[in-house]
Symmetry: C2
């Protein structure tokens, strides 16, 4: 499948690399490819310069949001939640129309200090805002509830015995995304329902952030334990 | 231990009954004991009249919030989240001073229809509001993330292999509550940290409510899977 991954941070790199290894044709979308490729400093989370990562992934193109989206069948939004709508607008509604748009971002608001709060929250979600802003895109919210390493290699924790959630209004898109999640190694995939259920998945983040603090590692995930 | 359980609904009954079976001296607190005992109709969730439940639990007293709190060492708030501060005010700050106050409620707001939203949310929690309103009470938030049956009998699901969270500012109170949770059968107890971490535990509810919808049963719980 032709996949565009928006975002050059830890999550974008992890997903782009994993889909490429699985044999998909992957482009990474960014605002300004020349500027991204020319950066020499480390990223906000200490990630090495993107050019270094690109050199190790010669089969992955770096493109503008618009060009990456135009040439893809499926777009993954792995940009910063606060900048996601802007990134998708830069891609262009026409380039997203009819496409599956997998939103893995969280609307974290760092403006009031740590830990971040959520915005929107409770009576809306970023997933819903994206679907409302791009009504012809087939948006699926997923993977936002775990760290990037587990997104692409769930088996590294408890042999993969933990849960990933799906929300979205398009059953066909959820079916395709379920297939991709299985390719990545996810075994316990719960379809929460329509896009409003993304509120539940996004509102797990405040607990996730406190668990990160309490456990001292991001290498954990939620398993929904139910009766047999 | 002398335990007062505030609330005569499903959660209050489950906790009061369980603590009594474990040998604790239990009183149930309610606004107006005579009125509660005189009710003949079923409760909002279809629960039988409280008098029927009392008849099967002759060792449990029914008392006013104030009298139940005054005679107890530990108070459990299992009232409706929207009415919790009012119920605790009726108990009287003096009757809660120095006491461990276990808050198992959720600030669910049903005013905008189903599923309920949360209020407060994100930048505050009901646990924090309770602690701020009763600064001399030793508040511990716990058990709010699962249904009443699992609160008191975790082993009925996957042999108890799932997680319960604790939040609170008083380490001694959290230690006592951890002991009570172990008596109930809880094995995986994660101390999230101070009372602000109750935001995380309360904000799990939107996901819990969607999982209830997706799974068709409230008999599930979250397990935090972490590396060995």
């Amino acid at each position: 499948m032709k996949i565009a991954v928006f975002g050059t941070g830890t999550v974008g790199r992890a997903l782009a690399g994993a889909f490429s290894r699985l044999g998909h044709e992957v482009a990474v979308g960014t605002r300004n490819p020349e500027e991204t490729a020319a950066r020499t400093g480390r990223g906000a989370m200490g990630a090495p310069p993107f050019a270094e990562w690109m050199a190790e992934h010669a089969d992955i193109r770096l493109d503008t949001f618009a060009a990456a989206a135009e040439r893809s069948e499926l777009v993954v939004n792995a940009t910063n939640g606060a900048a996601s709508l802007e990134a998708l607008a830069a891609a262009g509604a026409a380039n997203l129309a009819g496409k599956i748009l997998v939103d893995v971002s969280n609307p974290l608001d760092f403006s009031q200090g740590m830990p971040p709060s959520l915005n929107p929250v409770n009576t809306e979600s970023l997933g819903e805002r994206i679907q409302a802003s791009f009504p012809r895109a087939r948006v699926v919210k997923t993977l936002n509830t775990m760290n990037a390493g587990l997104m692409v290699d769930p088996a590294r924790l408890a042999g993969g015995d933990h849960t990933v959630f799906l929300s979205g209004d398009d059953a066909g898109a959820k079916s395709v995304v379920t297939g991709l999640l299985r390719e990545l190694g996810h075994r316990d995939i719960i379809d929460l329902g329509d896009m409003t259920t993304a509120r539940g998945a996004e509102m797990l983040l405040p607990l996730w952030l406190r668990l990160y603090g309490a456990l001292g590692t991001p290498d954990f995930n939620i398993k929904v334990v139910r009766g047999g």
